[in-house]
Symmetry: D2
Subunit: 404 residues, 4 copies
């Protein structure tokens, strides 16, 4: 009973839940014991199962083998999949592939779609997205050194990027580089280009060790380098200088995806906390859940998660009806609000587990480490707060320049 | 553009907003300068204006001169009215009268309705509700000393209550008292009775000075005493022993009312903070809003208020469809979540106003004082958290006894 | 047993405590029931008693009738006096008189000392200090409109000030005004001047109603106006253009005074919370203090208060040995740290008292209202954080300009 | 200039600082790149260097090759060493060896001292301490299943423990086991026994993977099992049934050690944050430190760290003068207060580093993971709050039973 429910979500949500309960979660513990770099291979049978259950590509329309969900419907599915670290990958809607698919779908030429989008939708290849540079603050996207220079009918790309998620094993990378250095408008200088990873001069320098793990394959974040990489001019997506416009369009729904995945994590952490509270004995017959402090954590987490979910679903609803641009403030809002809820719910759930909570016997420690980045990636919370506040203050007649 | 909008709310909300902007807010400053005890009289012309605009009794059905709103629709109206300290009183939907009207409407005999409900809906009289006792913790409602003993065809009432809002000048009080002391179920011992305030033995001991003001009339909270008060047996509402059941029914929607009023306060405080940020100069040409700390407050407040509003509207939506009992957890959730948002938004708005914010020249100082109680009345936040958590843990098989 | 204890503090602290317990606190409740404007008169017998007990002027040296305390010793006394709203006034060391006495003692001519300092130390008159202007942000002290122009041997003063504490009934005001408008250094433009309150053109416009009370006499904060006020040139304290230097010297120890008074308030609030927790029944035989949430509040409050006290005493110790200038960062630190502790301890204590906590039957509601200003006056917390951070970052080679 | 400085600390602190700056920190980065299990071997030259500089065994008296520090002096040294993850191990004062040395020094027979303490002080062997059991809540130490049964002149030990820090490679373990199951006082049932790790039946089951790393050698936390382990009866430390008394004595100063190490971590994280703020560019010429949010983090961290340090040093001072028992409340206070400061300072420092902060290129990510346990080990914060509050409420006449 939820105002956002539709016939479609009522039909599909139980099927996604069943997949998790019947197939994924029973194997989750074994999967968690593998080194991250072996996970991708081990997950292939589950991907096959998801496909057979008709749960593949929930983000795509029927032409591309998906269920043609509204963003609200997809968001509800994304929450369910987020309850396991492997949910999205099993259904082929993991970041950054999902964002790349949406980007290509709406902005690439038919030729590029055929060559790069199609095999992605089939799950035959993986892709990555290279934007952040180690030398510049990610919070200021126009501060960028990578360049793509048009020479004859090829772009020659040079640049140094990091946090290129899933580059290890990817078939191609979409890179953000300056193509119009003379543009006075700093937001019209960059373009997005597709670079096959076997292009000469492209190098995965390393999988960056993050919170103790370098990972590998799909579960990794790489440092990559472009040195005189040459790609055909038609590998530029859209028109030259539209890189930021495309990035914005890519990120809008992308934040819905992330936020709902985080809410899925919260729900799972909440479940684990409640199970712990109702089973762990402090002394014979006295359960952890009898402590008022634990009760407070449960109540506060419940309230925060519900609040976060509604914020995101309402933002998705607005995007569905009015487009991502109209929902700019809502999108900034959910980014920092939900990331903070995520961290606080995980923190409480770990504390409720005591020593077990910090071990790798417990799912929570994985998320505690690998989602600390939630407050940083896709623009740190601090930037989103500033963007939101400046937008609001504009309505009160105060215009604050960026980076003032 | 909101998923909760209906034709009716789209028709009515602008009219309530117009009343505030055109009639109430222009007089608000002058009203705030009056001693609280003179406010009631000064507000009569505004009440008249609201009635003429067809904004009277937004909580009631057409039979009782109201617009027959769903709870969601009323909630949206309540937010608008909450933007001024006088909004609800102007439209005759102020607590505790609103709760009393709803209580009588659904539970009183026709005779009682004619005698007590009718003049309330006309705004000819006021009423009050006496439950909390100074000697017992309000957080434990069954811990109560007031009694009503049936002798012949009258109940003889004895008791000592406080925080009986608006008792000063009320025509009658609805009192909660033990009528079935022998009942083993502690929730089946009390009943609600109507006591006209001119009944012998009823006394308003004092208007309790709260945060510096005792107030008067409608704007007051009284200590009252019942000494051998005798009322006809038919002045018991419903059947003997149903006091708690009725209280629960009264409080469910009542918390929606309060929470939406708080959100109205938050919106007004937010507006004041943004106006201040965009006008106040720190030095020539440099506005307060250029400070990142202020921007953080604006962004965090915006996120919190939106989250709070959605939580409440979803709770109201559930009550509309499934009744207050089914929405018990949602009602506990909003109580503590919104009360905390209220306090933190008010606090930031005051801080943004500097010294002005703590003066009575500024609306914020009024709410800072008079809404500190929001975290206490209708059950302190701590009790609601415990109730919510215990309900959740029951679903995990852990049954924790009350007051364990 | 405290590393800060000295022979003198060991001798004096018990005497101050005894005064509170034996004389002041027994009358406190009655005093709290008086309108604020009647309090000053009612306190005269207690001031007499404090003087007879040798507790008068704890901030002064023996030449001025004081005990010649170090700042650390005075700080410890100030905490004890802070436990009652009337403590400091009883011992003649209330702000702003204490700051004015210290200012005059170290900076005024002998003639001014004889005329203005002496009767202050005897408690025969009161004084006030006019700095903040309603038209300018208090956070930026150089942004000031008041002027004092030298004509012949008199200064002609014009200006509009507010939050001039205790102006109502004061014998003289020390006013901050621009005397050197041509100075390029904005910190060298203002001077401090003594203006007897019977000077023509000086007017107390009103006692500003703050959080519901305008108060009166010593317990008030006024809006004042200077219109062509003429004072002899020798009423300028120190030399022309030294206003800010003097203000800084005045404020350094002044913040120690305030902070220790706040810690006294915290200790009292803590006491009230513990008394409530150990006496209030939730149900027969079950005390409030058995709830873990209350226990958390007690533990967290104890930790915070201890931390705050040590921070302040260490700052005082540094001032004693190295002067206020060397302790600039410590002074900024305690201002915002202790103000926040104060507000959170008061908030918890009120919540623990339930409805009683917001009534004027309870001391806590007085402090909740009248100390909300602690985070604002003497520079809002936000300014102190910025000052501290900029000082630290300077040590790392980053120089950030004021109001950047 | 600090009231806690002594001639000895003034002499020694610069020498410890010099060791860090000249020897340890230059190698730190390389050491951090090693797998944890290789670190112990790689650190031996640095241990040698520390010994040659006369910095060995700062926790011991001159008879045992130490400087005979007071606890306050040792605490100050511990903060310095805490600034690197390897500081304490380099000077042979790492937990759990430090606690074991202190325990044996004050409580073991001469024979045990010769056999087990001596080689520890020389750094020839390592030891570990087995108390926490996976089956029971660590927060309730009397809830324990391990047993040691006296048969003839040997104790036969059975039990299952985890979080036995540094068991991997240790020469002996000190185990807590029930020897007096019939005792009515649950705190008099357990004893401490020394078990050489080559004893038959003792097994290191695994190094528990914690936050992504199982580690090895000194840098590990093991699950261990005792199955019919037989040790001579004289390997019981002190007298039978004194396990908890000894544990309390061991933990008192132990918490000072931990807390000061945490403060060292905080200082290093603070340094890293300030360096980042003053060097990282947001856009050409605009440094991160110019943002007010970063300034707030710096100011708030500075205040919190100072407050935490003073709390700990005052607790150490009290232990020095009055013993650990008298300082029981202070010890509980610092445990939860400092652990929370640690986590919040680390969190802010990471956020200030953006993406770099979550990589293993940055020291902060190591501490973020490996100090999440700080709020859990040695008793979770929640237990310490409860202990502190109950102690305080006892002084108000309210006696709350443990685990009520």
């Amino acid at each position: 009973m939820d105002i956002f429910d539709t016939d479609k979500s009522r039909a599909f949500l139980p099927r996604y839940r069943a997949f998790l309960e019947e197939e994924l979660i029973p194997q989750e513990n074994a999967l968690m014991q593998l080194p991250l770099e072996e996970t991708e291979a081990a997950l292939q049978p589950l991907r096959q199962a998801a496909r057979q259950r008709g749960l593949w590509n929930p983000h795509l329309d029927q032409w591309h083998g998906g269920p043609d969900f509204s963003l609200v419907e997809f968001a509800q599915v994304s929450e369910v999949l987020g309850m396991s670290p492997f949910g999205h990958y099993c259904c082929n809607c993991q970041a950054p592939d999902i964002g790349n698919m949406e980007l290509l779908l709406h902005n690439a030429s038919e030729a590029l779609k055929n060559k790069y989008l199609k095999p992605l939708t089939y799950g035959e290849i993986r892709s990555c997205f290279a934007m952040t540079e180690p030398a510049h603050a990610g919070s200021n996207p126009v501060h960028m050194s990578s360049t793509a220079v048009l020479e004859d009918d090829h772009y020659i790309i040079n640049g140094h990027k990091w946090f290129t998620t899933a580059a290890d094993g990817a078939a191609f990378v979409i890179v953000m580089a300056i193509t119009e250095p003379e543009e006075t408008n700093p937001y019209a200088r960059a373009s997005m280009l597709i670079v096959p990873t076997d292009t000469k001069g492209f190098e995965v320098v390393r999988n960056i060790p993050i919170m103790g793990e370098a990972g590998g394959g799909y579960f990794s974040h790489s440092e990559v380098r472009f040195q005189q990489c040459s790609v055909p001019a038609d590998h530029l997506i859209g028109t030259p200088g539209t890189g930021f416009t495309l990035a914005q369009k890519r990120l809008g729904p992308g934040r819905i995806h992330h936020c709902m995945r985080w809410i899925g994590i919260c729900e799972r952490a909440f479940q684990l906390m409640c199970e712990r509270a109702s089973s762990r004995e402090l002394s014979p017959g006295v359960k952890l859940g009898s402590r008022q402090t634990i009760q407070n954590w449960i109540a506060e987490s419940r309230a925060q998660i519900n609040a976060a979910r509604y914020l995101v679903l309402h933002a998705a609803y607005k995007i569905d009806r009015m487009g991502a641009k109209a929902a700019k403030e809502e999108i900034s809002t959910i980014k920092f609000f939900v990331a903070e809820v995520l961290q606080s719910v995980l923190d409480r759930a770990i504390q409720a587990h005591g020593a077990l909570g910090i071990t790798d016997d417990c799912l929570l420690s994985f998320w505690f480490r690998h989602e600390r980045g939630a407050r940083i990636y896709d623009g740190p919370d601090e930037v989103h707060k500033t963007v939101l506040a400046r937008g609001i203050l504009k309505g009160y007649g105060l215009d604050i320049k960026t980076h003032e």
